[in-house]
Symmetry: C3
Subunit: 347 residues, 3 copies
């Protein structure tokens, strides 16, 4: 597809070790829907840059471990080879691996927990993909979120896993004036634009965001463009609504919107003006759903993750043209019907 990576692709196909590395890099790239090894490599570069800058190198190491473990799990489960080779068994694991050290602590037991979680993310991917294939819709990063939410919540009950980086439980409160009135400078807007992208891998770093956009450019100009469009629209709408400025500046309100914009605008639909308008609307709904999850998860201390992207994108992929819904009329064959109606139904 992309000519830049052609020499590598030729080599990777012939060598078992390189092929394994290639599969893993593509897994990293699939977090933003790009089965491209160079994109995936640049994602990892960006993750290491941001993790080192924040003195949280375990996040980057976790990402690599999670990526490899989930990919190997996919191999051991006799999964479909073609889907394997383009990285579909790795993109949830790399996120699990970045998320656990971000929110949890705990030495050796944490790493065992991470390995189990990354392997479980592949099981979850196969399960969720099977269910949603019924409606021609992909699993997206729901398997990551499922594993992330389940394992983070469970950690409260385990002494050997620490949950100190999860916020304390509280009832949802309406946001106060003070959380909203910060100075909106050019540098704030610039940082937010790219941190909305970097936070997809749980990294809060402008340079990482720029690296990620370049990584997208390598694979697809449309993807890079829609990433920035999604980021800008999310930023504008959430500033207009008046959300927490610290969270906005850290890219938390935009990460899901960036993914929704790439998914709807450049991956699952062919770019067009209609699709552009549909995508913009999808981004607005993603911003709202991020607010939803922040409130809904307040009492149980969970982060929203990429959940808003998943729910919004499913919502916008499921409607079909000329779809005929079930009518408000008699449904035959229900258990409430009498024996006679059985005869009628059979006869």
């Amino acid at each position: 597809m992309t000519t830049i990576t052609k020499p590598w692709d030729d080599v990777a196909d012939k060598n078992v070790v390189l092929r394994f590395i290639d599969t893993n890099l593509k897994g990293s790239g699939q977090v933003m829907f790009q089965g491209n090894a160079l994109t995936g490599l640049l994602f990892l570069v960006g993750i290491f840059w941001g993790a080192i800058a924040a003195y949280t190198i375990t996040v980057a190491i976790g990402a690599v471990v999670g990526l490899v473990v989930s990919t190997v799990t996919g191999m051991m489960l006799h999964s479909d080879d073609d889907s394997m080779r383009i990285g579909l068994y790795g993109y949830n694991g790399v996120l699990v691996g970045a998320a656990f050290p971000t929110f949890l602590a705990g030495g050796v037991m944490l790493w065992i927990y991470l390995v189990v979680g990354a392997a479980a993310s592949t099981i979850a991917f196969l399960a969720v993909a099977n269910v949603f294939k019924t409606w021609g819709v992909p699993a997206l990063t729901f398997p990551f979120n499922l594993v992330n939410w389940f394992f983070l919540l469970a950690a409260f009950q385990f002494l050997r896993i620490e949950t100190s980086d999860l916020s304390a439980g509280q009832f949802p409160q309406h946001i106060g004036d003070a959380s909203v009135h910060a100075e909106i400078t050019f540098s704030f807007l610039w940082d937010t634009l790219f941190r909305n992208v970097s936070q997809i891998f749980l990294i809060n770093n402008t340079v990482t965001g720029i690296i990620f956009v370049i990584a997208l450019l390598v694979a697809s100009r449309w993807a890079a463009l829609f990433a920035l469009i999604g980021s800008a629209i999310a930023m504008g709408s959430v500033l207009a609504l008046g959300a927490n400025t610290v969270d906005i500046g850290n890219g938390l309100y935009g990460l899901s919107s960036v993914l929704t914009a790439i998914a709807l605008g450049s991956v699952f639909y062919n770019p067009s003006w209609r699709v552009f308008v549909y995508t913009v609307f999808g981004v607005l709904v993603t911003v709202v759903i991020h607010g939803t999850l922040v409130s809904a998860f307040a009492p149980i201390s969970l982060p929203a993750g990429t959940g808003p992207f998943v729910f919004a994108t499913w919502l916008f992929l499921l409607p079909k043209k000329k779809f005929v819904p079930i009518q408000h009329d008699t449904i035959e064959g229900g258990a409430a019907e009498g024996k006679d109606s059985i005869a009628k139904a059979n006869g």
Copy 2:
């Protein structure tokens, strides 16, 4: 179908503007499963009556705006024309439009929020209807509830949307004696009987309830009868269980039961004694699920909406006669099987 509306139907079919109005009125009627313009018009009359009486005219205006926006959204998405003409793209939007001004405040931003929510309800309808068509079951008002719950929760995070009419978060507490021991007079029972109906559109008004029953009568005598049966059974059972008398009197415990009764008793099954018994049981379960949602939503300040109706009615529409469930026996083709079993499965 109904001869009363025949002259109108003939005119409406020939004029673009009248056809658009007709489609919207039927959308209003479909909240209680009646694709009938006069029913829908009377619903709107009842809403305005109740909203004006309570000095909350924005609820009625919101209902009309939500109705029109969601219908237009359906048109722009190239939806199925026949389903459009009987109002299936409007019944969630009209509820979104009545609900937002009931629970939120906020000037211009609220109305933008409402327009986005109403448009999103049509996307959600197409998505939910697509999923549940798999089992021959309709979307009901789940799209409204989804949008309502999502947008209300999100509003906590937005300074420009006020959530002052949502109750404060709290843990579920067992109801105290004081909340239950009110005087049960004839006027209490009479008001409750009809407020159970009026609250479907978030209106707390006896006259509105009577107008709604008349609106049902215009389209279907069975629907009107089952609405009152559902209301009476809900009232009786919840008084016997000992629930909050203020909530009962305001029609909150009955609104979902009325919808369940109409749906199971007169719309999706053909009326019969078996179906009547099944419907009564469905109403009892609806009452319980209302209690469930009141408790479950206590920590996150959400109203139950018509959620109890949706969950109960799905539960009672999904069982089929002579259905053969998956047995407790070996399932072939699982990812846990070895390569040999692949051979066996394929061979």
Copy 3:
């Protein structure tokens, strides 16, 4: 199948009353996937033993009432006869019947509540089984959990049902040192091994657990073996993670794991080394999900029930060999497409 029960089977087939008893006993047995009347009878014996020992005979009586009510409901709904005869309409009801008197109180109204809940569990079984049949996956005990969670939560709103045995709502807190450091003696391990089994029917009793294992042995040696394997692995892993020792000793962390082990290791997959490894992994995930539900349900006072088993087993049954997921590529026919694309799609 099992020669021990052959004489009984011959008699039961010829007499209406005995056949009804046989159907009910098999319903009891199906809680652990055994359509075997002797297994079911021994389960009931174990329940009565444990309930009498704990002065909570109502739990055992409730179990029998729930079993009979749900089975009769299945008959009245013209359910599939073969599934009926092997007990598939009773296994959720027997659990509902044991659970309600465990967590609720309230005289006559409680028993009416229990009868409604048990009947609703059969409706819920037919509904859930219909939905999950789409992916070739059984309903498991999800219908029980659904009814249990719904009716327990609702009880907070009803004066005539007491919820004094449900814990008070609280935000999830990280477990303290004190809850973990108990003395782990041989007798603690022995008791836990069998209470993990007895708690499946909400009984906290070592002898009951032993009776349950014998009951499994009657029907399937593999089932009995995997029950003990699941129990041991759950115990070991949760002690290593450092969970609440009182809960572990009462069998709460193992009950779902025992069911997962029987289901994956001996029922739905044919025993093999691959399946054994897969099952062990499934048990680990079950233990984590139990922790998840304990945290998630803390604010709303709910018990986890057999929910962790259901979610983990679904997760491990849904992945298929050589499954081809939806690719990250254009999806045709979406509502966002223009009219032209309609033409293209149709042409």
